[in-house]
Symmetry: D2
Subunit: 448 residues, 4 copies
């Protein structure tokens, strides 16, 4: 008999600071160590990279892993399932406390290394191991992990499968069942169904969009929407700026392609744009056309913007950071008139992003849009689809995997409530096979 | 010098009962005669086809054209720009009062004839004239009308251009600048720009979606979304029902095609489904595959549903009326268990429609969805894009036509307010070149 | 050692069909048997009083008490804590299945008798026992119940306390900590604190307004708001109609008093107005002035309305049913023009009620208000305060009673989620001392 | 014949930067010169008091009075109708351009003097004249002004009446028809009705709350709600802090009185609290108890907070600034832990204020509340009523004054739209007797 413990370290009461520990008897695998940005944003003048983990825990910005002291077992691995900050952002603050390797897909581990390099308080010396989607790795004699390919709003995202002698545990936090992705492969449905046949003890799954009906639209839809906005309009020679998530490599890839079709030179600007896209390019996740330009630092960016003004806005398509109105990002500086780029009446700003539903972000966006509009810009907002599964995607995953136990994670209790109602429709029973965990709790499952 | 009067008969204070009279000196062209359904819905047991126009005017359901008595001139034509009820639904109640032909595109006039045929109170004897998009017609020696092709959520929609000796007046109520439509041609941008060069005195334009940022997504996006929902999923053999606007011929056409791809027989059901689609087919606006089945009356529909249950739900794709929860429509009857079709757990209901934002409709939809869910159905809602121009589409039309005067129509004062703010960005001045009219008012424009 | 079972029969997944069974070893006390009206409203032509309980259970309209078969024990009593339909409305459908008396406060039991009398499907023969707030009753040798006075939007509402040899169980479903009520006494805080000292095993409590910050405003505030609207205005001689919850005896009492101050004759109209208010008057819960008129049936009402038209609207204050737009209620009939009462421009309709947040009700209200406005009425809406405790009221109750276990009831999972977060602030732990139950579940508590 | 011009300088397209010029033939009276704070908030590091008016105009923060150059006439007076920043905040930037006295009620003129004193860019030398509510002043031989007492959320607010030989013009921007105010007198209804009898040419009136049904609740309601929250609760010895608008003298006055009843010492803290309340006290608008303490500067405040911690929180009731989460205000500093005051679990923060509906403010409030809750505070929000007339108050004012022309002001086009619909109900006609003005426009009215 195996005793399995699912320890909800963080991200069960909120969006952001995700961390789950999965205990198989006395072996523990930690999954994700994320950062909750909005708990940082409510403070002025906070520099995360210099802060101590205990301070960040108290602020609610990173998972409170001090509870791990109460858990009986040894951490054998720290696994990150993709490279977003809410999954890797606390690595540099917490990972050094555990004598265990950090495991992720190649793109994810590269981002983790960047994260560790920019840390100024702690030194993280853990071994960092890359594992490709589709591959497996033995953790102990009785436990191995497997990465199953999936889709999300960042490349190289995987489902984590922990194989034990009693069956598998699947961790599906942040995924999208996209069968027509614009980059990478569709999720490995065949393997998911096999896992379901083999026997899944527990599924830990995000509940972000469990309240949205139907299925998450494919990234192909966002691709078509963007094409519609960029190419199917009048006044095609006005200034246009696109802003999107720098980490959304597939999206940026689409934009770069449309720039070619528009006969404009794509110019990627912003330090995170450089970090995510140049990295993806070097690692050969994407091909970029020869004429693409990428600028990460402020001086270079302003020089490029001056060149655009000189040669003609209609010859370039700037792709910039700042879609959430982040102070200091490229778009914000343009809106403030701090760069050589001048907005003329009728210029278009295309937000290929949603507004993150958080009052701090909403205020930043409001300030940004107000300034852009006062300069005469026309706004195209939300040319975007979500990277998170909707209710019926969850329904499908549940029915493919047929787990004995289901634990919604990565969200507020309200989001979990939506998931719970869906899972009840599928026959699960709260408190029996369906579990609502709160940060700090451990769920015990005994498996024969 | 020409004196032009724009008389706001209906649809300037509300959505629905659209009617505008355009006076050129003493010649009047009436555009649209629409019905406001939600003013009917708030009453129980109302039978419109038996009601007198004055009663319907008092209810606010049709335009109050009694004000036409005060207008100095003769009505020379009644023009309907497309076949939706909010544009043609009052024809059978009001048109007989005017000695003037009713003019529309072929599909529109066919629908007008159906409308007149089903009227049980009044006899409408006006001459009915078909005019194709792209064609012109002389109304008086000095006035001609021209139909310019556009796109909307029904086929054969046009912009109306009234040519006078002083310039043209453009009526653009209900349109979408869709350059990649799935049926019919894109709007005639070349002609619109020519009209702008020739001189437009006034533009009367809908304001429905003037408050939505960016551009209305192309129907191609709805097409892709539907494809994603219907074809890119697991459990492809469950029962599936699609419901959409019967008058949205392009949409139904897409669904029928997807049924072929899914290897299911498309079965169109509902009296309005038969009316709109069979008509469009007979008039050769669409081709339908040989295996398509269309049933308009209840007995036939129930027989077809029985056959589907017998042969296997996975062999058919019913396309039904009832997306707004209309009592008596096919989907409502299925939800009530009044038909042979039984919903099993996991069957999918796909709403390729938005919910009309009106408390009566919202209640009907709530009741419908509640019943469907209680039977185990999975809901895919809002697999849809709007047929109405968004803010930047309006911006583009304004800049193509460069009208001297702009009058938002077809909406509430709040919708017009959104339009006004956009038009001000484009340089128009309220009370001078931009006009907010209320039902019953006449705007006077003197043109040299 | 005592084993306590809390069985969530109904009202744990939704608002409305409340029913909880509390098992002390093998003795069971059922608390409340309620009706969920909106599950009835979604159907046309449903006559509840003729329907079988199993049908109503399938519709989700009454609690599914078939699960009681699985519970090991004997029902000793059915207790109703107040007279609203969501607490007593299923008595006539379910109570006859149990050989146990029905116990409530005097006003509650009178309403239960009315309920039973109007039933046309089942005969309910259970003994009906009245117990005053403040009094106790022995149920078995080891179990007694006590009613502790509280406040709510109906008179004679109580907290139920079940005393066992191991401590007490408190059922607080639907209450308000109103220290300045306009009718009846404030909740018995002294007794609540004593109970806390004596030891409370479990608190079962409503979560309706747990998501609202602060405290529920006292009924005294509604009283002042009404006074402000009725007396502190110009044009005091226009027609005025007040509509409110017929069961809200305190509110109607205030309105009647204001009518006196306004020198108008209060005329109470509507069958439920007669049922609740005349009953409260006969039972001496309220005094009514001599000139008050009460009419329950349609013919009498229309006669009274004709008299008002004749003698002058400024001499009367009609207090009518129909605030939720219920078809057939007095206000709806006035709005339809079906009564002798004619609305003139400037007449005022005062809704001393909120709109029940349910699409069916919202549609009814929309239809009602639209018709009233079309006749020229001026609308004063939401002159009202809630009868349900807010978040800080719950906080206070928790800290007075200091229960070992807390179970939010009477609401959706979203409402319970709000309660849970508050209780966590107070130190409770979900899954340990704080429990989220779903309909059909039993929570086991072992007490020494 | 008199020609009257109503010039919409600012506040007709937005909330905040109010300024209207009223021209009677060639004599002009400017009414209000306000500041739009949220146009300042979207910028970082802006110091208004050092900025030039043209810069502030470009930012949209103050009215664009450069259009006054086009108006034919001489400014004879600048009148401010109350002391809120959106009515006086631009005085120090704009008034010096006009050779005209600044006229207001005594409290208003005192606040104007403070405003001028804190200005660091411009020197305002205009004569400042106090005029009491109820009094009149001759401006030219043919024009006099009269102040008619009204109520609002600041003391000494008036309606401005401009008497001309052809009739009067009434400016009613920011008022409330409160017949049971807690400070000062009810509006002078008798005089308003007289004015209506004498003949009102035009009414310029705020539209802020024209979209809210019914009447604005009396300040007496806020008084009762506050009393309910402060006195009618358990745990009366916990720490409590009240925050409200410093300029809302009546509200602060109520809070101070409740502190007495609670046997706590009221301690008013914050620089604006000192400015508004100490001023009102010195001018004898309010009496304060002997034990009240008022602290305006940071050092004093922190010293007082230290004393409170030492002597016991239950002995004091701090009344502080910061209800909108303003950075640097007292409550924000407490939330940040920057003061000696430590929040314990269960301490109460009572917001006797609404959240200003603006994303910047909403973000500040979110950050503030989050921090307060993380420290264990319990939040009581919105213990407040509005100071702006609701729809039926406007209806009553219209019917008392019976103006020939009505111009909604002080709001967005959406707010004006609500007003317009109400005025249409009262018989006014848009474009004829009812006017929608935009910033920069002049309305001409010819009066015999």
């Amino acid at each position: 008999m195996t005793e399995i413990g699912i320890i909800a370290v963080g991200g069960y009461n909120e969006m952001g600071r995700n961390m789950t520990a999965i205990r198989i008897d006395e072996d523990i695998i930690i999954v994700d160590m994320g950062l909750r940005l909005d708990r940082v944003q409510i403070h002025e003048d906070v520099e995360i990279d210099k802060m101590h983990s205990l301070e960040l825990i108290e602020m609610g910005a990173i998972p409170d892993d001090t509870i791990m002291k109460e858990v009986n077992g040894n951490v054998r691995a720290i696994v990150c399932t993709h490279g977003h900050l809410d999954h890797i952002g606390a690595i540099s603050k917490l990972a050094h406390r555990y004598t265990a390797p950090i495991i992720g897909t190649p793109y994810t581990t590269t981002l983790i290394k960047h994260q560790i390099d920019s840390e100024r308080k702690f030194g993280v010396k853990n071994n960092i191991v890359s594992l490709n989607a589709g591959d497996s790795l033995e953790i102990t004699k009785e436990i191995s992990i497997e990465f199953v390919n999936t889709q999300h709003s960042i490349i190289d995202t995987v489902f984590l499968v922990i194989h034990t002698i009693s069956g598998s545990i699947v961790y599906a936090c942040d995924f999208k069942l996209d069968r027509t992705p614009t980059l990478g492969e569709a999720p490995d449905f065949k393997r998911l169904k096999e896992l379901g046949e083999e026997g899944v003890i527990a599924l830990i799954t995000e509940s972000t969009n469990a309240g949205r009906n139907g299925k998450a639209p494919s990234e192909m839809i966002a691709h078509s929407m963007l094409r519609d906005v960029l190419l199917e309009t009048e006044e095609s020679d006005v200034g246009m700026i696109v802003t999107t998530f720098a980490s959304h490599v597939a999206r940026v890839n689409s934009i770069v392609k449309f720039a070619q079709e528009m006969d404009r030179i794509p110019v990627l600007m912003g330090s995170s744009m450089e970090r995510y896209i140049a990295t993806a390019h070097q690692m050969e996740y994407i091909e970029l056309p020869e004429n693409v330009e990428i600028y990460g630092n402020r001086r270079e960016i302003d020089k490029a913007l001056a060149k655009i003004m000189e040669k003609g806005k209609d010859k370039y398509l700037p792709v910039v950071t700042g879609h959430q109105g982040e102070p200091g990002a490229v778009l914000g500086r343009i809106a403030n008139g701090e760069t050589p780029f001048k907005i003329d009446r009728g210029d278009r700003i295309i937000f290929s992003a949603n507004i993150i539903p958080n009052p701090m972000t909403q205020a930043n966006r409001y300030a940004l849009e107000t300034k852009l509009k006062m300069r005469g810009a026309r706004i195209y907002d939300n040319v975007h689809v979500s990277g998170h599964a909707y209710r019926e995607d969850h329904w499908e995953l549940l029915r493919m995997l047929k787990p004995e136990h289901v634990i919604p994670a990565h969200g507020t209790i309200q989001m979990h409530s939506e998931y719970i109602q869906m899972a009840e429709d599928a026959g699960y029973v709260l408190g029996d096979t369906l579990h609502l965990l709160r940060n700090g709790e451990e769920l015990y499952i005994d498996e024969e």
